[in-house]
Amino acid sequence: MKIHRLVLAACASILAACSNVAVVEHGDALVSDRLSVQIDQPWNRFENSAAGPIPTWTREGFTVDALQFFVAVKDGKPIAPARDKAKPMIFRDGMQAHEIVSLFENFYTQDGSTFRLDRLAPDSFLDGDGFRFEFTRLRKRDDVRLSGVGWAAVSGGELTAIVFTAPRIHFFGAEIGEVERLAGSARLR
């Protein structure tokens, strides 16, 4: 009986991972009903799947390149579910850029991965004042070194961020130009 349950659980996980995939065609796209972006080339979109509850787009598979959207997170709400009994990654209106980056640092290290901040500077995002952060993540599960870049801004007390990660070798460099254009086109509705 135990074996049957485990096999069923494995199959359910596999199906769950596949069930919410859709192609996002080029042109205008709307994420979580609030964030509009313009895209040059199609992406594969995962939502509420093995990629996690964060809307995630990918070209090569979300374990390779992952473009993640944290849309209109309200004051007092977590940017993502915390693992185990770790402190929830709660956004507070009034946080400084460093404190917001700390939330993402926690998000990307809760599996034992490492996170090194490479750059944090003011930048335009959502057609207003925001910031851009760049980082290196050493992913625990497969020892892959990922480069990451994120843009974030707080608008009307809500935090919105787009974060892209991909292996430093090849994938990040191949896609970063397009990701920068996409982030530059982001607008909140």
Partner: protein
């Protein structure tokens, strides 16, 4: 090789010292087996070794492996001191992973995680965990578990089919299940660990202290550490372990190796503390830091970490504690430059703009090429405008 050089036994003189120590007298009857030969590849044990050899190859190249040769040699030295004749077959890998864990595979590959290294107070405590793992190895518990798990092997085949080309994942899942040792095996490994410690000249009382320390941390989050740790998920209740280990150590003495351990871990302390903060389990971290500060005194890195734990937890009264710790850390020579940035953030959050500006300026002064200097400058401008 069936010689008896590897036998670990205690002479009558030692038994006399143990008069009244019934538990240890029983423990002393244990004899270490001779060195193991590599099993043939077409056996279940040979397959297990081959699988672990592949894992070890990956581990050798892993960027999470702590590359400090002095630390590696030191850990290997402890394992050799404990493992005696088995020393040539044991290979210790220090891994940067912030949880309390160590493990040993049947092929002699041992992993020691950095979260464990942050938590042990001295060399003897580290030796108690390494000795415990060598106990599993010498008793070949993993192989016992493999042979107890025929039904899981059948499950593994099913999983392999279901997952197609990701057979390794299935093997890992299967092995993970198999490496959950039984409680009796854990008790046996505890007992052997204490014997090995004592034989090697370590104070075996330190074994129980590892558990007392872990339990104090876990109580901060309201759980038994045996249920929290990856390593001890199947271990006996922590209270029972402490008691048993203390009984086994009764009447024995030895060295703790406090200074040797401090010297070896000190170059890594800041990194281990930063990784600890990433766990986001600040109640436990604060208990740990209280202990480390009690042991080592107030230094810039420990006070920085305690300040950060309060600042990041941001509960009631935490910001005040954060500022107090960070301000004190900022006066100490070994504090990292980022202590001033953290202090600035905490002060800014409290509306102490002028003091925040001073802290930010100090950060820029100490770290002019810092990756976030542009951002810090905007904070200063914003505070000066307001």
């Amino acid at each position: 090789m069936i010689d008896r050089r590897g036998l670990l036994s205690f002479g009558c003189a030692q038994c006399a010292v143990l008069a009244g120590g019934k538990a240890f007298a029983q423990a002393a009857e244990w004899l270490a087996p001779p060195r193991f030969q590599r099993p043939p590849l077409d056996t279940d044990e040979g397959g297990l070794w081959a699988f672990m050899d592949r894992e070890e190859k990956r581990l050798r190249r892993s960027p999470f492996r702590m590359g400090d040769k002095a630390l590696r040699d030191y850990l290997q030295g402890i394992a050799c001191r404990l493992g005696a004749d088995h020393c040539p077959d044991i290979r210790v890998y220090a891994l940067r992973t912030p949880w309390f864990n160590a493990s040993m595979a049947p092929n002699g590959m041992m992993q020691v995680w950095s979260g464990l290294m942050l938590r042990v107070d001295n060399e003897a405590q580290l030796a108690s965990v390494i000795g415990h793992e060598i106990g599993h190895y010498l008793q070949r518990h993993a192989v016992e578990r493999l042979r107890d798990a025929h039904s899981r092997s059948a499950f593994g085949m099913v999983l392999n089919i279901a997952l197609g080309g990701v057979g390794a994942l299935a093997q890992l899942a299967l092995l993970a299940g198999q490496f959950g040792f039984t409680r009796d095996q854990e008790r046996e490994a505890d007992r052997i660990g204490v014997i090995l410690m004592s034989k090697a000249g370590y104070d075996p009382h330190e074994a129980a202290r590892v558990w007392a320390n872990l339990r104090a941390e876990a109580m901060a989050s309201g759980e038994d550490p045996a249920k929290r740790s990856v390593l001890f998920a199947t271990h006996p209740d922590s209270g029972e372990r402490e008691k048993t280990l203390a009984e086994l150590a009764s009447g024995r003495t030895g060295e703790t190796g406090l200074e040797a351990w401090r010297t070896r871990i000190d170059p890594h302390l800041l990194m281990l503390l930063e990784d600890e903060l990433h766990r986001g389990q600040f109640a436990e971290t604060l208990v740990l830091l209280e202990r480390l500060i009690g042991r080592d005194g107030e230094n810039g890195r420990l006070l920085f970490a305690r300040g950060e734990a309060y600042r990041l937890r941001a509960g009631e009264g935490d910001v005040g504690q954060a500022i107090a710790n960070l301000e004190k850390a900022a006066t100490l020579a070994d504090a990292p430059a980022v202590v001033h940035r953290s202090l600035g953030l905490a002060l800014q959050g409290e509306g102490a703009g002028e003091r925040a500006v001073q802290a930010y300026r100090r950060y820029i002064e100490l770290s002019p090429e810092g990756p976030d200097v542009e951002m810090i400058k905007t904070y200063i401008q914003g505070l000066q405008r307001s």
